[in-house]
Symmetry: C2
Subunit: 241 residues, 2 copies
């Protein structure tokens, strides 16, 4: 496995369970953070202002609102989101190909209108909280998660998206089908033996990178540890080996 | 069919394709509007400030961001959203029962913390843009839309949600299963012969109300007509008969 020269580029810090002040304090504690993920909770409370604040601090942003609406609305939401300067924007592949294609075009247009480099759209495949059983019971979908992730990744790729979000359990077989330029972003990263909260399909950091993940989304394992700076550094060390 | 005393209570204006100024102008033109729907596009651009503006104008708000994430994130997003004063908040039933139950509790807690009446959470069933064919081709789900809507509505009801969003094509059979207190909110409302854009499963206003819809979501048919005030009034007249 090739040596990773800048491991902090490989780690996206999920700003979950935090308000704006918590975020400012975290970034002071860990100035080495390059990537941050803004999810529904923080965005619903703070709105686009939190994105401007993060950009002013020179952070790269994954806007992870997981859009899932009719094609026109998903496209317009991606047009608006592309103008915030976020580098990654997520939307559900189960919104369907028409929505994904329209969204991809709209994101390019939106970014171009404000002279920004277009964001990469990332297709959400199967949320890491699902297991085969819960998926089948709740949603009556009788396909294995691997099969379904493979199909949804195909929809994302065929629609021109820049990559996918998948659990560490699927990153290896996806990487065999897609080139390095197709981002595979994996949440569900835990240190061995740590609390997995409501994630089901998890693995450890170096494993996920070895299997082909482009970047890892890590949240509570760092943000809620007693020494976040130390934890960030130890994750960086782990993935550089 | 019982006479409808206040038809404007039955119409939710979708503020799609509009910025904040357009919204202010529309509300000036049609002061009789009671309900408005804030979707992804407007919220991604403006954030929670647009909700405060609408509340100051005395409007009732359907915050329609269609949350679809892991249970913890959906719950925290609903906690945050419930503190904006929105009366309705949407989330995808396909986020699963665990997410819906946690979200329902979180919305009550969030509202209570700021002394607001808890919002009603509305479960998105199948987006009105889907047809049986596109649903099967893109998502490999070989169930009829009616069957699937019935199942997803059951998940919503069993999780304690306040209602569902469904197309006019499903409102009649759902109303047979659920009491009047279970909201059935239907987008996809068109005047006969008008452009259906990317909605597939549509019907006309008075039909939908007769079949048991609690409220109708109407957007472009009013907001993009040459005389929005006249169109709003004519929809109100139509559903009062």
């Amino acid at each position: 496995m090739k040596n990773i020269d800048n491991p902090s580029e490989k780690i996206i810090i999920a700003l979950d369970g935090m308000d704006k002040d918590d975020v400012v304090n975290l970034l002071k504690k860990i100035p080495e953070i390059v990537w941050v993920k803004v999810g529904l909770e923080l965005f619903v409370s703070e709105g686009p202002d939190v994105l401007s604040m993060l950009r002013e601090k020179g952070k790269k942003i994954f806007l992870d609102l997981k859009f899932h609406d009719i094609p026109t609305t998903v496209a317009r939401a991606c047009f608006a989101a592309s103008q915030t300067g976020a580098e990654f924007i997520s939307l559900h592949t189960c919104a369907g190909m028409k929505a994904l294609k329209m969204a991809n075009e709209a994101a390019k247009e939106g970014a171009a209108k404000v002279n920004l480099i277009p964001p990469k759209l990332l297709g959400i495949t199967i949320l890491t909280s699902w297991t085969r059983e819960s998926f089948c019971n709740d949603l009556l979908i009788n396909q294995s998660i691997n099969q379904r992730v493979k199909h949804l990744a195909e929809i994302a790729s065929n629609s021109g998206l820049g990559g996918c979000v998948c659990s560490p359990k699927e990153v290896q077989f996806l990487r065999e089908s897609y080139p390095e330029t197709f981002e595979l972003i994996t949440p569900g990263i835990r240190s061995l033996g740590s609390n997995i909260n409501d994630q089901s399909r998890v693995s450890d950091a170096s494993e996920a990178i070895k299997m082909g993940a482009s970047k890892l989304v890590i949240g509570r394992a760092i943000t809620q540890s007693n020494d976040s700076a130390y934890m960030f550094k130890s994750f960086c060390d782990k993935i550089s080996i």
